[in-house]
Amino acid sequence: MTTVLLCLALFTVAAAAVAMAMRNLIHSALLLVASWAGIAAFYLWAGAEFVAFAQLLVYVGAISMVVLFAVLLTRHSRLDFDREPETRGRVRLALFTGGAVCGVLVAAVLGTAPSSVPAAVPSLTVRQLGLALMGPHAASLLAVGVVLTVALLGGVVLAASARHSDPEDAP
């Protein structure tokens, strides 16, 4: 039971950590995609099939594309990766903060007595999920729809800036 989980966790965290430490942005984006896929595998392991495929579809299929396009549309100078003293100090600070947060979280997790754990995988069909979404959670579903639409429009407005004044683009 735990071996599979441990392997998944190791893979996911390692991929994420290496991605965060990499200089090559494309490599780190692709490693992050691997890490997201590992999280999808964790959802599968936990029995949340629908969420796993949704994660795969949204993160591996869509967000990764957006990230890669953003990386390619922006130029990166060596300056971005230079280890200035200021940067080094920030890295040290970040490591300290992260370590502290991690310590607090781990202490909290280990210090709490485990509750009763259901051994069987809870069965949750897509049908039940859909009924729950359209029934008690219909309002939030609508809200999410609105958020997504607004985000889409906002993204388009932000990314497609006022280029109309550019004489070269004039028809």
């Binding site: 692709l30 599968l44 795969l56 579809l57 890669l68 390619l72 995988v121 049908r127």
Partner: protein, 431 residues
């Protein structure tokens, strides 16, 4: 508890491959021996294993059979495609490659073998300064994701490799991941033209993912399930006792099928949407820097993707493994599926032989200004259809009429808008 048994408990997905899937489920007594033949064969192979190992063996067999079947189908398809293209252009197509040592020509049946040998013996070139790891991983990732999509298609009444509750979602999730491999191929080549072509390919794939998914939603709505096997079961009834109730024979189903078909043409990079690797204009798009067997792997993945999308179209709209007429159901279901799949692949080739390639702006305009709105309207029509399911008697023709009008009207309007200013050309100086 032995290791595989433990694994099967831990990984519900993996166990779906074997024990709990219809592949091994209790067999309905009504099925003929022919229908059960694949299962009987598998039983002979794995029956002697202890029960806890059986699902592992069964899943392995399912994987091997799927890969072998589709790899040989790929080999035959390359030949069939060239033959059909040749016949359309008044030539015989490849007919020369002889069988080794026999010097028999057999209508070019050995051509795939010859191609394979050629591809294997070519030099594998990696550009200087390219990202070797990604360059190597891209074809593998593409092929792996294409093979994943093959897992959830029901090939027969009892033949689903992976019977998931959300298999349609799985199909599109795995299909969406292929875009990543395309990007990897383009970027890792360290060639700006490869990269540009990969970006174009991505733009096309993302644009056509939308109508593809939107045209599937009506089917899910009507079938009330995301499971492919349930969707096929739902299409198993008959109008008037002999007409099949496949989804394609309803107004919304026909429109959905056409949108799905066009989008899947684009999604599998097939002509007339084969811009990403247009051989005659670009060298090979994002595949420019690939040679030898890696290139062959890309093509294999393309054909696998094409087979998977055709299989999905058959499953969703053409009744899957259902026989077209009641008295024909004595023929095993997997043969019906194979027949429909091959017919659809034939149409793919027919279309490739007929139409010229689109320009990139025409391509994206078709997706965003025609297919997406049509798919959305189709979704509304399907909602109407499902709301009026209880209309009987004279109301039934009215229901058909309204649904057909709801689709045909927007189709005409959108079509006119799409082809505005594209009337028959007049040539000033030509005779």
């Amino acid at each position: 508890m032995s290791l595989p048994g433990q694994l099967s408990v831990l990984f519900p997905l993996a166990s779906g491959l074997g024990a709990s899937s219809p592949l091994a489920a209790v067999l309905p007594a009504s099925d003929s021996a022919l229908e059960r033949l694949p299962l009987t064969l598998r039983g002979l192979l794995t029956g002697w294993l202890p029960a806890s190992w059986q699902w592992l063996a069964n899943s392995l067999i399912a994987i091997v059979v799927l890969i072998v079947a589709f790899a040989s189908l790929f080999a035959l398809l390359t030949l069939a495609e060239r033959k059909i293209l040749g016949r359309v252009q008044n030539r015989p197509g490849p007919n020369r490659a002889p069988l080794p040592f026999l010097n028999l020509r057999t209508y070019g049946l050995a051509q795939p073998v010859a191609d394979g040998v050629k591809m294997l013996t070519k030099e594998d070139i990696v550009p200087d300064g390219a990202d070797r790891v990604l360059h190597f991983l891209a074809p593998i990732a593409l092929l792996a994701f294409s093979i994943l999509t093959l897992a959830v298609i029901p090939y027969g009444r009892l033949l689903v490799a992976l019977d998931l509750d959300a298999s349609v979602l799985f199909f599109f999730a795995a299909g969406a991941a292929t875009e990543l491999a395309v990007f990897m191929a383009g970027w890792a080549s360290r060639n700006k033209y490869s990269l540009l072509a990969a970006m174009r390919a991505l733009a096309q794939l993302i644009s056509y993912e939308l109508p593809l998914l939107l045209s599937v939603v009506p089917v899910v709505l009507m079938a009330g399930s995301l499971s492919t096997s349930v969707i096929v079961e739902r299409q198993g009834e008959w109008w008037l006792g002999f007409l099949p109730r496949w989804y394609v024979f309803t107004p919304w189903g026909l429109a959905g099928f056409l949108v799905f078909f066009v989008a899947s043409l684009a999604e599998s990079n097939r002509s007339p949407f084969d811009l990403p690797e247009a051989e005659s204009e670009l060298i090979a798009g994002h595949l420019t820097e690939y040679s030898g067997f890696k290139y062959a792997l890309f093509f294999m993945a393309e054909y696998f993707g094409m087979c998977a999308l055709c299989g999905m179209a058959v499953t969703l709209f053409l009744g899957g493994w259902q026989a077209p007429l009641p008295f024909l159901s004595f023929i095993p279901s997997y043969l019906w599926f194979a027949g429909k799949l091959l017919a659809l692949l034939g149409v793919f080739m027919w279309i490739r032989a007929s139409f010229p390639r689109l320009r990139i702006d025409q391509l994206t305009r078709l997706a965003w200004k025609f297919l997406v709105p049509l798919a959305l309207i189709n979704l509304g029509t399907t909602a109407f259809w499902s709301l009026t399911a209880d209309w009987a008697g004279l109301l039934q023709p009215l229901r058909w009429l309204i649904a057909a009008g709801l689709i045909a009207g927007p189709f005409l309007l959108l079509g006119r808008n799409l082809s505005k200013g594209l009337g028959p050309r007049t040539y000033r100086y030509a005779a």
